[in-house]
């Protein structure tokens, strides 16, 4: 059974139909990279998957449970997912440590001491243990984004949803964030990530899915979708990406 599955997900904002029937199944320990042009609906898809938007049709299943059912408590579902956005992730009024321990203690009711210990260990792993007491604005963008990922991991989510976590960063900071994603993926975390980093998608993803015109036009192993795309629109998109020097 897939950890996360989208079945015919439709989402429209007024007259703008952004998703017109998206099917996507993400198995445990797999990494899916969502690619597609700007405005193709990658963020919308991730927001629907994390129940930050109500779908207009179709289903989202988490561990086989239909979480788009209005009878399901969305807060309870979101506790089982980790979401990291492009920017503005950390709470500026809380220290790095408090950012990481917030959800484990307040939402999951873990003892403070245990949560702190675990958070310290996580921060240690990303080399930011000495920044635990700092406030987010004293960290670089890359450090902030790594803390944001660690914060999402601190609740031990079933699936990690990453929305272009590197696109707000300076090029030299992108590497450190991608390295962390790679490490997290290596440890077996199930990940869906929207990204413009094709090289990274090729190396780390098990599946690359190309979103275009509100549907997943083509999905498969990165070697095939990025190397020998079947659909002319995928080819055109990748040609543009190559022109921009991103592959």
């Amino acid at each position: 059974m897939s950890v996360l599955e989208l079945r015919g997900v439709v989402k429209a904002f007024g007259p703008t139909v952004v998703l017109r029937g998206v099917d996507l199944a993400v198995d445990e320990h797999r990494v899916v990279a969502l690619i597609g042009g700007s405005g193709s609906g990658k963020s919308t898809l991730l927001r629907c998957a994390s129940l930050l938007e109500t779908v207009d049709d179709g289903q989202v299943l988490l561990d086989g449970e239909d979480v788009t059912d209005p009878r399901v408590d969305a807060d309870r579902v979101r506790r089982r997912m980790g979401v990291v956005f492009q920017a503005y992730n950390l709470f500026p009024h809380l220290s790095v440590l408090d950012n990481v321990t917030l959800a484990p203690t307040v939402v999951h009711g873990r003892p403070q001491a245990e949560a702190v210990e675990e958070a310290q260990a996580l921060l240690d792993r990303i080399g930011l243990a000495d920044k635990a007491a700092e406030f987010p604005d004293r960290l670089s963008g890359g450090q902030q984004q790594r803390v944001a990922i660690v914060r999402a991991l601190a609740v031990r989510p079933r699936v990690l949803l990453l929305d272009e976590v590197t696109s707000a960063l300076d090029p030299e900071l992108v590497g450190e964030v991608l390295a962390l994603v790679r490490e997290v993926a290596g440890q077996g975390m199930t990940i869906v990530m929207a990204t413009h980093e094709m090289g990274f998608a090729r190396q780390v993803a098990d599946t690359v899915a190309f979103l275009d015109g509100g549907v997943l036009l083509e999905s498969g192993p990165p070697g095939q979708v990025l190397g020998e795309p079947q659909h002319p629109r995928t080819r055109r998109f990748l040609a543009r990406v190559i022109d921009a020097g991103r592959l």
Binding site: G8, V10, A12, F13, V17, R20, G21, D23, H29, R47, L51, L52, E53, T54, D56, D57, G58, Q59, T68, D69, P70, R71, A74, A185, G186, Q187, G188, D206, D212, G213, G214, V215, L216, L217, E218, S219, G220, P221, Q224, V225, Q230, H231, R233
Partner: protein, 302 residues
């Protein structure tokens, strides 16, 4: 890495055509919508029922209490209410005039003061200081003192050309005090606009004033509208204070009736009229705040 298994698979090509019209909602979605409607209806019913129940209990508790007949006769006498209503309503028109004239003036003076306080550069120091002193002073002094000083003090000077109408003087006092508050609201709004917005405008060659008028103020206004509406609600009832200067407004009319009959119902009538006046503004403030919040979240559920 031990957990990763690479799977070779054929690529999946979607069968949904990008440009095609959206199919009608599925049975599942229709059922979901029906359930949401049912739940919304149920919530409304529960709210209605519990409100009714509460009102009934409160009604019985009050009307069955021993002192109620006397309380009713003194504060809620229907005949006294009817008798006093025409005069009070006519008085309320005076309050409304003060409200409209005062409200507009407060906006102008408040915005001007806020703009003065945000002026940079040493040449503007006196203006800036003046504006600051004014705000500090009139935010600190109780409105009633300003009313006495302006309303009774000015005419006592006996100067030529100083208006003596309690309407004009009362409005002036209210404008003085409220403009100081509103100036601070505006200033907070102006300062909440991110500095890079100003930098972007200036880098396009706009002057300080153009930057303010075209870029900063529109954004600031959007942020402060809820706070301004809140101040407007406060102003609506404070216009009743001009009665202390002898203006025949709603409060004063009520006072006259009470003095004549020793029944306090006219005060209750005047109070209720002020509440009726305030309710639409309060709801409008709520709505504007909610809209601003929705816009910030750009359609998200949270």
């Amino acid at each position: 890495m031990a957990l990763r298994r690479r799977r070779r698979a054929r690529p999946v090509l979607s069968t949904v055509r990008p440009g095609a019209a959206l199919p009608p909602p599925s049975a599942l979605e229709l059922e979901r919508r029906a359930w949401r409607t049912r739940r919304a209806r149920r919530s409304t019913l529960v709210a209605l029922a519990s409100t009714l129940l509460f009102a009934l209990v409160a009604w019985f508790a009050v009307t069955r209490s021993p002192g109620w007949p006397r309380v009713q006769a003194t504060f809620f006498s229907p005949s006294a209410a009817l008798e006093s209503l025409p005069d009070i309503a006519r008085g309320l028109l005076v309050n409304l005039q003060v409200l409209v004239v005062g409200g507009v003036l407060v906006l102008v003076v408040g915005l001007g003061t806020a703009a003065l306080r945000t002026l940079r550069g040493p040449a503007f120091a006196p203006l800036r200081i003046l504006a600051t002193v004014y705000v500090d002073l009139f935010r600190g002094v109780p409105l009633i003192i300003v009313l006495y000083l302006v309303g009774f003090g000015f005419p006592a000077l006996g100067l030529q050309g100083v208006p003596t109408s309690p309407f004009v003087l009362g409005t002036a006092a209210i404008v003085l005090v409220y403009s100081a508050y509103v100036a601070e609201v505006f200033r907070a709004g102006i300062e909440s606009v991110h500095p890079s917005q100003r930098a972007a405008a200036r880098s396009l060659g706009l002057t300080h004033r153009q930057t303010m008028r075209i870029v900063v103020l529109p954004q600031a206004l959007r942020t402060v509208t809820p706070a301004l509406l809140n101040d407007f609600v406060a102003l609506q009832k404070d216009v009743g204070l001009i009665s202390v200067l002898g203006a025949i407004d709603a409060v004063r009319s009520a006072q006259i009736q009470v003095g004549r009959t020793f029944n306090f119902t006219p005060y209750v009538v005047a109070g209720l009229l002020f509440v009726l006046l305030a309710v639409p503004s309060a709801r409008l403030a709520d709505a504007v705040t909610a809209r601003a919040r929705r816009r910030q979240q750009s359609g998200s559920l949270l």
